[in-house]
């Protein structure tokens, strides 16, 4: 989830920064070009006006200048000064905020405009053009850049608004990306997780909302998953059939060996018969376990459910193991904190606990302690089988639950074929529970089976019965 979210943020951030960068560049370029043009226009206007004022001065003196100046809309941002040859003020016109006398005047020459830019106290820039007049008088006319800047900031505001609008619009592809790419990919990840960790192998990718490529991908992968599932099913069905079919020949062989054992006098022959019978019993147990684990995997294990006291169930199984524990110089104790009545298949659950006890007895060295503990909480009960053996190594944690996998603590002499814990897990699963293992802080393993304790029909463990 975190990863796919981060890709969403990444895409959003990239799109947004592209939009912001593009709009700012355009804004900067436009402003620069505009301010250049406005500057040129400003000079042209001043030059034009100065020309007009020069002509008017020659025709009618300073009064003509005044009347033209007043006729124009020069209330704002403008300044006009005319000095006679001696430097006396003939005319001084100014807009609000500008004190004409304070403005330094550049020297002028006849027939040509000289320029000067002066910063004003309010931050504006005043562009002043000066010219010499025929009788030695001089005229200056200037204009501040306030108006230009207002135009510029107006343009910039428009750019800003359109940038926001573009950014919002650019989120549409992001939304599309989320809906058509990210959501399907997320559901793929979820499906893959179920296939890897869960107990359901019928999970398939769902990419109906995705883009065509993802739909195609999901279809192709689902087809191959179906194929694998079909083959697995065939193989497992063949295995089941084989396991079933082996029972009858085993029964025949066993029957004959029984006869040998009953009617054969010599010790060596009897010993051979006994070993054969033990071998047949092991094979039978193996077949039984394979079929049970398989049934548990596919949740097709048929259960005979009864409402049973877990305390009673554990008491019975501990009684069964007491003598065997004593024989191994182990102390087997049952600790019960309260009792819970649960819907269980007694045989299956006892077999699961018995498998855990088999392991505990096999792996705990003499003088050790094996504790069966029932821990009852409001909505679930946990059966623990703890020992003082070597515990379960980090690498074994996951693999010991797999079929035919034995922990590294197992030696050639440790009994078992590596199906016990698979069966424990299968039994826990069909009872809507869980099984797991922790190492105790003081050493030794703590295997547990957690079962839901509610007895209502909705939590009834198995669909079949």
């Amino acid at each position: 989830m975190i990863n796919s979210n981060s890709s969403l943020w990444r895409v959003s951030a990239m799109v947004l920064s592209i939009v912001v960068l593009a709009v700012s560049m355009m804004c900067w370029l436009t402003s620069w070009l505009l301010s250049q043009s406005l500057g040129t226009i400003s000079r042209a206007v001043i030059e034009d006006d100065l020309g007009e004022y020069s002509v008017l001065y020659e025709k009618g003196g300073v009064e003509m200048i005044r009347s033209l100046y007043e006729a124009g809309s020069h209330q704002k941002y403008h300044v006009l000064r005319v000095l006679d040859a001696k430097g006396a003020d003939l005319l001084s016109m100014q807009s609000e905020g500008i004190v004409a006398q304070n403005i330094p005047l550049p020297p002028v020459s006849l027939g040509m405009t000289t320029w000067k830019t002066t910063p004003m106290s309010n931050g504006d820039l005043l562009l002043l053009g000066g010219r010499g007049l025929k009788d030695g008088a001089r005229i200056w006319f200037g204009r501040t850049d306030r108006e230009d800047r207002q135009i510029l900031s107006g343009v910039q505001r428009q750019f800003f608004l359109s940038a926001i609008f573009t950014a919002v619009i650019s989120m549409l592809p992001v939304l599309w990306f989320v809906r058509r790419v990210l959501c399907p990919v997320r559901s793929f990840i979820e499906s893959a997780r179920i296939l890897t960790e869960g107990d359901r192998l019928d999970e398939r990718l769902r990419g109906n909302d995705g883009i065509a490529e993802l739909r195609e991908f999901a279809r192709a992968l689902n087809t191959s998953l179906d194929r694998v599932a079909g083959l697995t099913e065939e193989l497992e069905a063949a295995n089941d059939q084989l396991a079933h079919e082996l029972r009858t020949p085993l029964a025949r062989v066993r029957g004959n060996i029984d006869v040998v054992l009953a009617h054969y006098g010599e010790d060596a022959g009897r010993e051979a018969a006994v070993l054969s019978i033990e071998e047949i019993e092991r094979s039978t147990a193996l077949i039984q376990a394979i079929l049970a684990v398989r049934a548990g995997d596919t949740r097709s294990m048929r259960l005979h459910l009864e409402a049973l006291s877990l305390k009673g169930l554990l008491t019975d199984i501990c009684e069964l193991y007491t003598a065997a524990a004593e024989q191994r110089e182990l102390c087997l104790e049952l600790l019960v904190t309260g009792d819970a009545t649960v819907l269980v298949d007694r045989q299956r659950m006892q077999q699961a606990v018995s498998n855990l006890l088999d392991n505990a007895l096999a792996y705990t060295p003499p003088k050790g302690l094996v504790t069966v503990l029932l821990d009852v909480e409001p909505d679930h009960a946990t059966i623990h089988v703890r020992d003082t053996g070597p515990g379960v190594s980090e690498t074994d944690h996951g693999r010991i639950w797999r079929r035919f996998m034995r922990g590294s603590a197992a030696s050639a002499n440790t009994p078992g074929i590596g199906l016990g814990l698979s069966l424990v897990k299968a039994v826990a699963h069909v009872h809507r529970g869980e099984a797991g293992v922790d190492n105790q802080p003081e050493g030794g393993a703590d295997f547990w089976i957690r079962l839901p304790t509610s007895l209502d029909a909705s939590s009834k463990p198995v669909p079949g019965l």
Binding site: T248, A251, R252, G255, H304
Partner: protein, 233 residues
């Protein structure tokens, strides 16, 4: 005892016939479900052994129809399907016991005997006291205290030890298999990976056996356990 045996596997059938005849039972074999049903209904039987998977009609169906037609003989199902639900289905439709392939002949005969005994005395209350007339001489049992008194010493037994002794005494001289004891004493129909029965028998033997002289409980490797009544003085 007259026994009807329905089984379609000839080799297994042969073995069971040999074993049962060897024990003096009159056993009749049939090889299909339909044949089994007509034979079952046409004669009186002390016991019916019914294989579950047979051609034609399966064992469950045969017994269902047999019971529906008023047949009363006790039925033991023999099945290659070990799933508990199959067993329950078998018992629910009128079977009295079941056995999973492969099995020891000793177990089959123990079950046949036990069911036959139970069936014959069914109407009477089962006595709570172990009242086996063949108790070793000098033994006295107290079922309230669950104790055995012999030669001046009293040995108290755990509940399961008491049940184990009960089953052994009731089958004195007969081989009892591990799986039969697991079922009868602990009500368990799977094979634990640990030698639990062996250990339990060992412990009981240590409590009961005289300091000198032969043991009461014999272990026969590959077969099971036999209780012997070595009379003590």
């Amino acid at each position: 005892m007259t026994i009807l045996f329905a089984e379609d596997d000839p080799e297994l059938a042969r073995q069971v016939l040999t074993a049962m005849r060897g024990q003096g039972h009159a056993i009749t074999l049939c090889v299909s479900g339909t044949q089994a049903l007509s034979l079952a209904l046409n004669r009186e039987w002390d016991m019916i052994l019914m294989d579950v998977s047979m051609p034609g009609m399966d064992g469950f169906e045969v017994v269902k129809r047999y019971r529906a037609s008023g047949g009363v003989a006790p039925v033991i199902f023999i099945t290659a399907r070990a799933e508990v639900a199959d067993r329950v289905a078998g018992l629910a439709i009128g079977g009295d016991d079941y056995l999973t392939k492969p099995f020891a002949m000793a177990e089959l005969s123990a079950r046949v005997e036990a069911l036959h005994r139970r069936f014959k005395r069914a109407p009477a209350a089962v006595p709570a006291v172990i009242s086996n007339p063949l108790l070793p001489q000098g033994w006295r049992l107290d079922s309230v205290k669950r104790s055995v008194t012999m030669g001046g010493r009293t040995i108290e037994l755990q509940p399961r030890e008491w049940s184990l002794l009960d089953v052994l005494l009731n089958n004195e001289g007969r081989v009892l298999t591990k799986s039969y004891l697991l079922d009868e004493v602990w009500n368990i129909r799977f094979d634990p990976g640990t030698n639990v029965v062996d250990a339990a028998v060992f412990r009981l033997r240590k409590k009961l056996d005289p300091a000198d002289g032969p043991s009461h409980i014999e272990t026969r490797r590959g077969e099971g356990y036999v209780f012997h009544r070595h009379d003590q003085l």
